[in-house]
Subunit: 189 residues, 2 copies
């Protein structure tokens, strides 16, 4: 081809030719299979796409560099672990509002300095919703925790210097918790 | 109750009473709904569990502190982004072997110093497989990339000092990529 390429096929989007829901349980989960056309013209049948709610995860850090965690059983892990506070973004709620609400509900704390760390996609191929990560500083306890979640939780404070060891030992196993802690750490320099 | 509690109901596991596959497409995805009993005796119907393959993600870092990324279209993001090398753990393959294999296939590089960073669970409620994160140092190019994946990719080197800005700009949107980068960063101190 003598004419200049308008696009780079390695970066060109796939074209979704068909999408069919195979399982749906709103608002929690919908599993679609898509028929897609790749930039080279190849057709792929049955590529999965998982629609799941957006959620928030908050690194709530005290002035003396301790992080608020929830110690509770989580069914995805099949055991009790430490996770950062977080939860689903409700309909017609912004990620920021959800972060403020969930921090208060789950821990009883408010924060006066919020930083949006990133909005990230849990699965590179299937999507699986979106994780909105925040850093919260200037914490103040104004209530007792009252999450209304299926799981009750112990609210615990973990010194930042212990985090790597807690992850190494398996006390922290949540991918989104580690992403939020790691990104907060990277941004402090 | 006058007798001491043997367990803490907040940390006690839920009991799975029934599990039924609602959708299954091996080896990629199976969606089960479970009937579970909480420690307080409450019964929950229809709690989702998503069985998905284990995968590996590698922070491959050069001696001059650049990180190897793939620049490619990823359908989960619906656009081109930078992701760390990675891929699925094959049957009867260890995560370590998968990491070595995928790094070579996707980038053409081997590494002589490998560190297991963590094995993390992508979804706190539904599981969604497991992400095994590695740090690879002592890199040496021995072949051209030949991943065999649906996506071709540009292999690019991003200086570590640019990572925070790349995430802020949305060039990097993968949750597992950020978790691996962040954890590698936390462990260096």
């Amino acid at each position: 081809m003598s004419s200049p390429r308008k696009s780079d096929p390695i970066l060109d989007p796939w074209e979704v030719l068909e999408s069919r829901d195979m399982y749906s349980s709103p608002p929690w989960l919908a599993v679609a299979v898509e028929k897609v056309r790749l930039p080279d013209g190849k057709i792929i049948e049955g590529y999965h796409h998982l629609r799941m709610p957006h959620y928030v995860v908050m690194v709530a850090q005290t002035d003396d560099d301790r992080i608020i965690f929830l110690h509770q059983y989580k069914h995805g892990f099949r055991r009790a672990c430490l996770t950062l506070p977080g939860g689903l973004v409700e309909q017609e709620e912004s990620p920021e509002s959800a972060a403020h609400r969930e921090l208060l509900e789950e821990t009883g704390y408010t924060a006066d300095r919020w930083t949006s760390l990133a909005s990230l996609i849990p699965h590179s191929n299937y999507e699986c919703g979106r994780a909105h990560l925040f850093l919260a500083r200037g914490l103040k306890k104004i209530a007792e925790p009252a999450s209304g979640d299926l799981e009750e939780a112990h609210v615990v404070f973990v010194p930042e210097v212990e985090l790597v060891e807690r992850i190494r030992k398996g006390d922290i196993v949540s991918l989104s918790t580690v992403a939020a802690l790691g990104l907060a750490h990277m941004r402090r320099e």
